[in-house]
């Protein structure tokens, strides 16, 4: 499985359009944070607050989720490379695990690079100096974003494999990163308490806990339930899937 992940990541980092898009995203989001969201009063607190807002509203996540979904899952399906790998004796479960781990690693790498650059660029501003607590919260937000992207792409992967359509998969990414959080928020405000257990609500609660300095360990089992749950459903459909050449 390690060799599959290695092959996939090397393949992804050779895609120039993906790398170009990521660089464009880094620059655009830096400019937005520096001159947009916090332009009037630039300091560490407003930075962290802006990140909180981005992570919760999901627009930043949408811009990242779509290319990640396309490059990890959709490219694989459209190139038919999966057939080649299965035909060479790799089990289907290994392929799905490799894809999930790819997604985790890729999103993690992107956020690690992005947040580190952002952090040091922000700190170069004389008005911005992050406290230890703010740095911790800053890292926690990055973690929440990674979890949210991995969950959204995993659910979209599940739908894509069931429907056999990458277009529907991309639509699901949009749905899970931007539309569904707003719908869930709305339902929650209407008093439908089952929404408490939606992954979005769990992430928002975790993020708020982290911002308040409270531990958010419950994120781990819930993330496992949701992400591995999506993986299992995908596997049920994928293990007997008929492949065309």
């Amino acid at each position: 499985m390690i060799r599959l992940i290695n092959a996939d990541l090397q393949r992804i980092f050779r895609k120039k359009s993906f790398i170009g898009l990521m660089i464009a995203f880094f620059v655009a989001s830096y400019l937005a944070l520096e001159f947009g969201a916090v332009s009037t009063d630039v300091n560490a607190a407003t930075y962290v607050e802006s990140l909180h807002k981005y992570a919760e509203k999901g627009y930043m996540l949408l811009i990242l989720s779509i290319p990640i979904f396309l490059v990890v899952y959709s490219d694989e399906v459209s190139s038919h490379s999966m057939q080649c790998i299965i035909g060479r004796g790799v089990t289907r479960s290994k392929i799905l695990w490799a894809k999930l781990i790819d997604c985790f690693l890729l999103t993690g790498i992107i956020f690690a690079v992005y947040m580190t650059l952002q952090y040091f660029l922000a700190e170069s501003n004389p008005n911005v100096s992050f406290s230890a607590n703010q740095t911790r919260v800053y890292i926690a937000y990055a973690l929440i974003c990674v979890l949210k992207i991995v969950a959204a792409t995993s659910f979209s992967m599940m739908v894509m494999f069931i429907t056999n359509s990458t277009a529907i998969g991309v639509f699901c990414v949009i749905l899970f990163t931007t539309i569904s959080p707003n719908i869930i928020n709305l339902l929650y405000m209407k008093g439908i308490t089952a929404m408490n257990y939606s992954y979005d609500m769990i992430l928002i609660r975790g993020m708020n806990n982290l911002a308040a300095g409270v531990s958010a360990w419950e994120l781990i089992p819930w993330s496992a339930v949701y992400i591995i749950g999506a993986w299992l459903i995908t596997y049920i459909f994928f293990r007997r899937k008929e492949f065309d050449f």
């Binding site: 060799r3 599959l4 290695n6 092959a7 996939d8 090397q10 393949r11 050779r14 895609k15 120039k16 359009s17 490219d75 190139s79 038919h80 490379s81 057939q83 080649c84 790998i85 299965i86 035909g87 060479r88 004796g89 790799v90 089990t91 007997r240 008929e242 492949f243 050449f245």
Partner: protein, 275 residues
């Protein structure tokens, strides 16, 4: 007795009530170039899918290098290379695409570069720097075969590798297949619906018809099928020739007007291999 490397025993594949394969039994021996022939939709590709594990069979048994056990089948499929069309990333070059597959197939890191150079040399793409999406059909087919032979598999499955190729491309594939068997000791299963082409390439044939392998024949069968002696005479006056033969008690079974094939003309004109 030859060692069977691929054996299909009464394979049935059904989609609902429709049986695509109705009990396929065939055997490919080590060192064979086995030609699978049949019209479009006869089930050739479905047979390949069963062998490669890309589709489950309803009943029957598949054996690869002596194993029918599911776990061993997975392991033995690592010794099978196959070409089934385009399975490449458009934004990668030939070398980068093969690098991806070499890593995924578990070729040791230190050997990948040399292995890819060897393969690109065999398929004649050693100088290609283009992205795959800019490849001609012939280049795509060559890269597909290159991917199939990556890691030097024992068995090679080629599903219509000459599809869409020009005559020179077809002849090149034919030479490549023979070379892979003769120099690299690969067992090759190749499918095509161009019978004349396959006749030049393979030494055993399975004819797929109505969801079964209706007949298995060899090159020797083709040679020995007609026991009568054929003598070609070049005559200007056909009526006189017929009378002379009849007067001497010689029956004329059929008359054939001698002509060159299109392939003969083509290769005479442009040069290259038509054998």
């Amino acid at each position: 007795m030859s060692e069977a490397v691929i054996k299909l025993d009464n394979i049935v594949k059904s989609y609902g009530k429709h049986d695509v394969l109705k009990g396929v039994t065939m055997q490919v021996n080590k060192g064979d170039i086995y030609g699978l022939v049949g019209k479009n939709g006869a089930g050739k590709t479905t047979i390949f899918k069963m062998i490669l594990g890309l589709s489950e069979y309803t009943s029957g048994n598949v054996s690869i290098i002596g194993s029918t056990n599911k776990r061993e089948l997975f392991a033995n499929r690592r010794k099978v290379g196959f070409f089934v069309g385009s399975n490449f990333y458009g934004y990668l070059s030939a070398r980068d695409n093969l690098q991806y597959y070499a890593r995924a197939k578990g070729i040791p890191h230190g050997k990948i570069k040399d292995e890819i150079t060897r393969v690109l040399d065999i398929v004649g793409l050693e100088d290609s720097k283009k992205q795959y999406k800019g490849f001609s059909l012939g280049m795509k087919q060559r890269l597909g075969i290159g991917n199939a032979i990556l890691g030097n598999p024992d068995i090679l499955i080629l599903d219509e590798p000459t599809n869409g190729l020009d005559p020179q491309g077809i002849a090149d594939v034919r030479h490549m297949v023979r070379r892979l068997r003769d120099e690299y000791n690969m067992t090759v299963i190749v499918s095509s619906h161009i019978l004349g082409e396959l006749e030049h390439t393979a030494d055993r044939f399975g004819i797929v018809h109505n969801g079964i392998v209706a007949k298995e024949i060899t090159q020797d069968d083709l040679k020995s099928k007609k026991p009568e002696v054929n003598i070609a005479l070049s005559v200007n006056d056909i009526d006189r020739a017929q009378k002379v033969l009849a007067d001497n008690g010689i029956n004329i079974l059929h008359e054939v007007e001698d002509r060159m094939t299109l392939e003969d003309y083509y290769f005479d004109l442009i040069g290259g291999a038509a054998d």
